[in-house]
């Protein structure tokens, strides 16, 4: 049975209705001081450095580089790029302290030096990490332009063959199959467990959480060893893609549970309470309120777990076996994956094999990078945070609900809204006896904004 509230046939558009809500209060509005005649100066930028401060940095930097070069080039018995870098940095910091202390007190010197140290730590870290990735990509670019690298396997290619022969298709396929099996187990099990931890709770849930936390400490090689001894030695008696997928599952499951648990914990409690207050059952609250609210966070959790699982080498090393041929059956025969293929390639001393190894690593990095970017695009926002469009839609929805609940349309139709008996209105309007009961001829003109 559905209920529709009668709407006035000549009702204006919904937007115009909402302006009545502003008209409830007939008190004179807060007086805003007029900006006229007030001079507005040019906008000053905060957080800027004076010329003096900038020269301190530049001077210290130049001095540090010069000292290091002098020491390494002419005076000292020092050598090596890393040593030069260290000396230059130390000289830079020393000179900077000296320059700043010329004009400032000790507190400010400490502040400046701390800032410089923080920035250098960040620059060093980001430099090193970006360099690691770029180094791999550059060394891998030797093998990547060959199309056969992506379309062939290593079945007929020996270590001495040129890069125009052989490829890593079998490893790509192996990675995809293994991670799919792992995801098929991890996602339902992990998210349901996280829901169990958050929505049902109790003593057993606390126990589950403790165990899941403990398992995040499981070293990946031990997970591999477990699968090797429990599944390969006892059950299947051969290495297979399925065994590798099991090892990846054991590694990924705690990560996904933990990340989803955090995301679900962030779902605002009042959303749940509102749902329960409407008489909804627990299951419907989870399905219609909790999970949709946390959707982006859950997707992020799963994708980050996937990225971690794809890159795992050591459990796969023990369980999947190494092969050069394509194998699409996860239950029989060895099935290699990308990280293991990298490991296998670079064990060879041949330059071509090493180039293939870097090429495979570059593919792996690009895969992880792609997954990560997708995760950021989906899950950049926390649970309950809306985009602008969603926020506008939600606002319109709540206005509609308010109208429906207060039956504003009916009251407008009956002329009871907006109320006409407020003192300000009475004093301004001429006191005619018909005025209070007269229906408003037209709603107040809509604000153009």
């Amino acid at each position: 049975m559905s209920t529709t509230f009668p709407t006035r046939p000549d009702a204006p558009e919904a937007d115009a209705h909402t302006d009545f809500l502003d008209a409830v209060d007939f008190e004179p509005p807060t007086r805003i001081p007029s900006p006229e005649g007030v001079e507005i100066g040019p906008r000053r930028t905060l957080r800027t450095a004076t010329l003096d401060e900038r020269f301190n940095v530049v001077g210290a930097l130049a001095g540090g580089l010069a000292i290091a070069t002098l020491l390494f080039g002419w005076i000292g018995p020092l050598s090596g790029i890393v040593g030069w870098f260290v000396v230059a940095f130390l000289a830079f910091v020393g000179l900077y302290v000296l320059l700043v202390s010329l004009r400032s007190d000790w507190q400010e010197v400490k502040d400046r030096v701390a800032t410089v140290l923080m920035i250098s730590a960040g620059a060093l870290l980001f430099g090193a990490l970006v360099f690691i990735v770029v180094y791999t990509l550059v060394r891998g670019s030797e093998a990547l332009p060959f199309l056969n690298f992506f379309t062939q396997t290593m079945e007929l290619t020996g270590p001495l063959d040129p890069l125009s022969s052989g490829g890593i298709l079998h490893a790509i396929v192996g990675t995809l199959i293994q991670i799919s099996i792992a995801l098929a187990i991890t996602v339902p099990l992990g998210i349901t467990t996280a829901v169990f931890l958050n929505e049902i709770g109790g003593r057993f849930a606390r126990f589950v959480r403790t165990i899941a936390d403990a398992m995040t400490a499981l070293p990946s090689i031990v997970a591999g060893l477990f699968v090797y001894a429990a599944i390969i030695q006892l059950v299947t008696h051969q290495r297979s893609g399925f065994a590798a997928a099991m090892a990846i599952t054991v590694m990924m499951l705690p990560i996904v549970i933990r990340a989803s648990d955090v995301v679900l914990r962030l779902v605002p409690g009042n959303l749940r309470e509102a749902s329960y207050a409407l008489g909804t059952s627990r299951w419907r609250t989870v399905w219609h309120v909790v999970l949709p609210t946390a959707r982006s966070g859950l997707v992020t959790a799963v994708i980050l777990g996937t990225a971690r699982g794809i890159g795992e080498t050591s459990p796969v090393l023990l369980t999947s076996g190494i092969t050069a041929v394509m194998n699409v059956n996860p239950f029989s025969g060895p099935m290699i994956s990308l990280p293991l293929q990298v490991f296998d390639f670079v064990r060879s001393p041949e330059p071509n094999m090493i180039a293939r190894g870097f090429g495979t690593a570059a593919v792996l990095i690009l895969l992880v990078l792609g997954l990560f970017i997708i995760a950021r695009m989906i899950g950049g926002k926390g649970p309950g945070q809306l985009s602008d469009r969603q926020r506008r839609a939600a606002k319109l929805d709540s206005i509609r609900d308010l109208q429906r609940i207060t039956m504003l349309d009916d009251r407008i139709a009956r002329g009871e809204y907006p109320p006409r008996v407020l003192p300000t209105v009475q004093t301004e309007a001429a006191p005619s006896p018909a005025a209070p009961s007269a229906p408003p001829t037209a709603p107040p003109t809509a604000d153009p904004s």
């Binding site: 049975m1 090596g80 990490l129 970006v130 467990t193 829901v195 899941a212 090797y228 008489g279």
Partner: protein
């Protein structure tokens, strides 16, 4: 079920409630049956929607009738669980139990299989350096020492970087640059360890050797940094410095920095704005504010993040395995070629291991697992107990 259906059901319940109020006012003097009938009708009305709502309506319907019969009875507030809820609870409980089952299976299996090796080796397992299970002479003293050495070097390299980066991200950088750098740190935590291993073997190894030589030349009076041969003479050739714990430690250190930095940053960014502003208002410089407000507040995060990184560093396998050249004696000289780690030992020996050898490897893995377990639990309890709070972890 679509959202519209839910709303419709709620409307139904409202309207039905109004109608029942009128009915019960009449029924109060009458018999119970009509009250039950109205309850039944309401069940029918709500039945197409949420079962929970229907059930609740039914129990309400019975009450006015009870009041009419004049025997005030204490009503149980517990609501009857609907079918879907029961199914949901069962499924969720099963999932939790399955997870625990898998995890416990891993732990129990490891313990049971490790038991046979531990029985043979006894307490000597922890103090023997050799590893030959075939002759029953095996222990993890050397590999455990190597593991700890590598992890400690990783922390020494990683901690300043992580702390500086975390402070930079939470206190200095703002706006778009900050969110970009935060994403970059998170991304770096997801870079596969084999990539770090490749970099360590093919780039860092040859470029770090001059530094190692330099350290060993000028700091040889510190026992850790000396590099000596069998006869105690000082070694200077480059080949004595390859594949050392030092190089492995640097690579593992870079690997764990992102984890540490993101936990620390999380803790720092929760430092209360009021206290920050108070420090500034009292005339503190930015560093003064950091030293008096942010660092004390985030102490739990610093310790916890560092220990989480330590846990990862202890368990790291493939990068270490690629870099080190395995030995089975305790090597105090961290710059000298040759070290070992528990995980590298497992990766090295699992293939050729007999049944008993595998059991010995399991024992080694179990010890490693227990160590990382203790480290991780200590870390999370420190973080949870600190002011920066349980929310972040």
């Amino acid at each position: 079920m679509k959202q519209d259906d839910v709303f419709q059901t709620i409307d139904d319940v409202f309207l039905e409630n109004e109608r029942t109020d009128i009915l019960t006012a009449v029924d109060d003097a009458g018999d119970d049956s009509s009250g039950d009938a109205s309850g039944g009708a309401r069940n029918g009305g709500g039945g197409d929607g949420a079962p929970g709502a229907g059930g609740a309506g039914g129990s309400n319907g019975g009450t006015p009738g009870d009041g009419g019969s004049g025997s005030p009875e204490r009503r149980s507030l517990a609501s009857r669980r609907s079918t879907s809820d029961t199914v949901f609870r069962t499924v969720a409980f099963t999932a939790g139990a399955t997870t625990v089952g898998i995890m416990l299976a891993v732990g129990l299996f490891l313990s049971i299989r490790a038991g046979s090796a531990l029985e043979v080796a006894g307490i000597g397992f922890l103090f023997t350096q050799e590893w030959s299970p075939e002759t029953k002479q095996f222990g993890i003293a050397a590999v455990l020492f190597g593991t700890v050495t590598i992890a400690v070097i990783a922390l020494i390299v990683g901690f300043p970087l992580a702390l500086g980066t975390a402070l930079l991200l939470s206190e200095v950088v703002r706006g778009r640059l900050r969110s970009f750098m935060v994403s970059l740190v998170d991304l770096m935590a997801a870079v596969p360890s084999i990539v770090f291993g490749l970099w360590g073997v093919f780039f860092l190894q040859e470029n770090i050797i001059p530094v190692a030589e330099w350290i060993s030349r000028y700091f040889a009076w510190i026992p850790f940094f000396a590099v000596t041969g069998e006869d105690g003479s000082t070694l200077t050739e480059a080949s004595a410095f390859t594949s050392s714990a030092f190089i492995a430690g640097i690579v593992v250190g870079l690997m764990v920095v992102p984890t540490q930095a993101s936990v620390m940053r999380e803790a720092f960014s929760q430092a209360p704005v009021g206290e920050r502003e108070g420090a500034f208002a009292l005339g503190a410089t930015r560093w003064g504010m950091i030293a008096t407000v942010v660092l004390p507040f985030g102490r739990g995060g610093i310790i916890g993040g560092t220990m989480l990184g330590l846990g990862r560093a202890l368990g790291e396998t493939i990068a270490v395995y690629m870099i080190i050249s395995p030995i089975f004696v305790i090597n105090w000289e961290v710059l000298k070629t040759g070290t070992n780690s528990v995980s590298a030992l497992i990766a090295l020996r699992y293939g050729e291991a007999s049944e008993f050898g595998l059991s010995a490897l399991m024992a080694a893995g179990l010890v490693l697992f227990l160590i990382t377990l203790v480290v991780n639990f200590t870390a999370s309890s420190i973080v949870a107990r600190s002011r920066s709070g349980a929310e972040s972890l």
